[in-house]
Symmetry: C2
Subunit: 526 residues, 2 copies
């Protein structure tokens, strides 16, 4: 498939006229052809009008039709073959194996949501049957289901050009809910965006759906992104990126005459707590495992472990020695974009020039542009508690070890943490009572707590939470990964005393869709 540099608005391909955008190969600095024309207000208007026109038809598709569409989109992405892999590698600097894995994840995610649509638990069907003889007043028949909120704006992320981008988790969960999607593609991977966009566009057509179910815009965040979030037809926003980007969109969404929810996954430093039993047994192994997680993908993960808390002593020294040994030999890695590399260098410099922070070790330098060099820092609990800026995310392979004088101080610092996507506890059975004190604090602070693992690697499943309290996300009530992500794009509607023929099928007598439904609050499938 030729990459043309066009945007996809419904069934059309449209050349933007507001400035040229080029993909850049961050490993070489090479400008990748072709030029992509940036969109403007007219394209936002057209995509939103088509999305609004498609909404009622799309949200009312039968579960089987919507599921088959998601599967067709997955297959169409696979059918792009090597062209997609090569373009994504060139635009991201990520290794081929990683991109292939990410494609598997992206396709798997679409297929999982097909299963979710078919299973129908997301409908949360409820029936409170009439009680005509109730005294003093008869009770009406009331039924409830969840429906799609409306057209959704999705912002592609730089760090997952497939799994969190044009056909990623936000798009998959919004489409599964029955929401048309207008994507603002990330300018760091415009060719990858177009390829995936064309795959979804073809699936819309092959599935006989209205064209407005999917559009892909390119262009500046300040122009296209802002206009999209401000458009009155858009009813929710999915975003993965920086804190400044997420909060900017949130402000626009809140300033609309009709405010809408923004699901922005923003920043997290993912603390790792080293408990004494684990350290007595495995300080060395934990150090190695930690560096493996820290340096994976040049540290460009939302769940990268950017903070480690341990108690001063020989075990912590052993951990630091082991981590240092592993990290100092770690090769520099190409970062995603010159902008991300620059921000990483600035973040590292901020830490290394902070006179309350010690530079423990740095990884190998690299040749060529945008080579992120891993770095490990340490400071005291006292300094950390006194300087909130030390909680700022440095996106990349940099982490800060907090040396606590004792366990109580470590537990106290947990209470001072900002909201996070994850927290990790390294523990052994003898640490159980300590962990029982730590977990309730972490539950208030994070979306996912791990024991004896590392936070990178976010499983796409039914139990995953990739979310967390502010500032890790803009809405801690949700997740952007896993089947629960569909709930972000739903709202409940009740139907009172409807004749059966007028009810949505999910709520009809005889349960024709075979759903789990709550009747007077009790789950059943009759």
């Amino acid at each position: 498939m030729a990459i043309t540099g066009e945007m996809l608005i419904g069934a059309s391909a449209v050349r933007g006229t507001e400035g040229d955008i080029y993909g850049i190969n961050p490993a070489t600095g090479e400008k990748l052809q072709p030029a992509f024309g940036g969109g403007g207000a007219a394209e936002v208007e057209r995509a939103c009008a088509l999305a609004a026109a498609a909404f009622d038809t799309f949200r009312q598709t039968a579960p089987e039709q919507r599921a088959a569409f998601l599967e067709a989109a997955a297959q169409a992405i696979l059918d792009l073959g090597d062209e997609l892999i090569e373009r994504a590698v060139a635009e991201s600097g990520l290794p081929r194996g990683r991109i292939e894995g990410e494609r598997g994840r992206t396709v798997g995610q679409l297929r999982m949501f097909a299963g979710v649509v078919r299973e129908g638990g997301w409908v949360d069907a409820r029936i409170d049957p009439a009680q005509p003889d109730r005294k003093p007043l008869a009770r009406s028949d009331i039924r409830q289901r969840h429906i799609a909120v409306g057209p959704v704006a999705v912002f592609g992320a730089s760090n997952f050009p497939l799994a969190f981008s044009v056909g990623g988790g936000d798009t998959a969960s919004a489409l599964a809910a029955g929401c048309p999607v207008v994507v603002k593609g990330h300018s760091a991977h415009p060719g990858t965006s177009e390829l995936v966009g064309r795959a979804i566009q073809s699936a819309v057509k092959a599935s006989g759906l209205p064209e407005g179910v999917f559009s892909l815009l390119m262009g500046s965040g300040a122009k296209v992104g802002a206009a999209l979030v401000a458009d009155p037809r858009i009813q929710a926003v999915g975003f993965t990126g920086s804190f400044s980007g997420g909060t900017a969109l949130l402000k626009i969404a809140q300033s609309r005459p009709h405010p809408i929810p923004v699901y922005a996954e923003m920043s997290s430093i993912n603390p790792v707590f080293l408990l004494p039993g684990a350290m007595a047994k495995r300080a060395d192994g934990i150090g190695k495992g930690f560096v493996g997680s820290l340096t994976m993908g040049a540290g460009q993960f939302c769940t990268n472990p950017g903070l480690v808390l341990g108690v001063e002593g020989k075990e912590l020294d052993a951990f630091i020695a082991s981590a240092s040994e592993a990290l100092k030999g770690s090769a520099a890695q190409t970062m995603l974009t010159p902008g991300i590399f620059k921000a990483y260098e600035e973040g590292v410099s901020r830490l290394s020039t902070n006179n309350r922070v010690e530079t423990v070790v740095e990884g190998l330098t690299g040749a060529g542009p945008n080579q992120g060099r891993a770095a490990l820092f340490s400071t005291t609990a006292e300094h950390f508690a006194a300087d909130l800026a030390l909680q700022e995310e440095v996106f990349g392979s940099a982490s800060l070890i907090i040396r606590c004088p004792d366990l109580e101080t470590m537990l106290g610092l947990a209470e001072k943490l900002e909201g996070q996507l994850t927290a990790t506890i390294q523990m052994e059975p003898e640490d159980l009572e300590l962990a029982r004190r730590l977990v309730p604090v972490l539950e208030r602070k994070v979306g996912r707590i791990l024991v004896n693992g590392y936070p990178t690697g976010v499983e796409v499943g039914h139990a995953m939470v990739h979310g967390g309290p502010w500032p890790s996300t803009s809405d801690g009530r949700t997740t952007s990964v896993g089947s629960l992500a569909i709930r972000r794009f739903l709202r409940p509607v009740a139907y009172q005393d409807f004749p059966d023929a007028l009810l949505p099928e999910a709520l009809r007598n005889g349960n024709p869709q075979g759903l789990w439904r709550r009747t007077d609050g009790q789950l059943g499938r009759d």
Copy 2:
């Protein structure tokens, strides 16, 4: 129980020092004793500190303990006996029967949430078991549950001094979720608030819970209310009241360093659509039924039918004649507060002096203060479409009939409506095709659609939705009535590779709580 005029902060009773607040009997204008001292920053601080201190203990109570506490609170409210009824009647001007019914609803609501807590569906427990042999990477064991978001601020509503106030639906659902509650009582019924507050306070104590689980503050919205929403320990807000009040709280919540959700139920005019088949058969009866709903409780319901849409012709004339006949003999009724009465008079005057609006009929005038006189207006579809101000809620027994030239115009107007709590369709089987065109539009606009009923009377059950798109509420993804209301105060947390002994009981092997849980996405109870 003596009403002392004190606030309830945890286990203490505290006299506020920032100005005196008196209940007023709106039927007589009489100032009711005693004076209530308004609170200030110090009381907000103390209540929030206690709530935060109580949070971990309260949210981790066993389901049975929390359910029993809700039942104890219900019983304690009942045990207040006639004193509560008499005080609420005096402070609200509502008839005794209505207040008794509302007490039943309030107590029933607390008991329903006790059942919800025990049943445990709100936990949404999920388990994705480990797959140690998965290739290329082993899968971790990941489990998920929902936990309480944190201390919740609840604002009592004027129009339901029991069911939407100190011990009302917001409080009941937040407590059920495991959130400590700090109520800002409505100044229109301070004595009722104190009595109910003391009942809940006694239930907290009797249940052996930390005192911070419940506090009741009194005072000005601009001072106490604003400070409460701004307090960093408060994690969500429940509010029922005016659009201006709700949006003011929303702005405060959004401006916090850590923004929080506001569930504000604000304004709605609850359109009633008169379809031709129903009008041909029942125009007269519909007119009478409509006026019954319109004038109930002096029209002081969020779901009061403030808008009627019908097609010009003899059937609409018959409806208007019947409604006029019923309405012109309707007695004036005491409104809740002098402020609400004044706003109602202004709203009626705005309509009656609008030269595009015709006054159809007015009800009887009343003797004494604050007597709301019902009023019915009409206008054309053209005028209505041209003047968005005609969609502004007039809180009270006033309604506007829109005379449409044809059915297409009526359907077109549905598309122009703002978000509403409810919409009603009057129909007969021969209207089915028309209703099938109308329902998808209404689904996008409202939270509850009724057939052949009237929107007043909101059943507390599992299928109810009392919510809807902006501006009817600030968050159309939720309901403030019914068991789903608990979801407003929950967020998901995932546990990865936890030893069984460290897992919350809801997620442990063997399912010790007997919950419905999703294993790899499939519901089961094993």
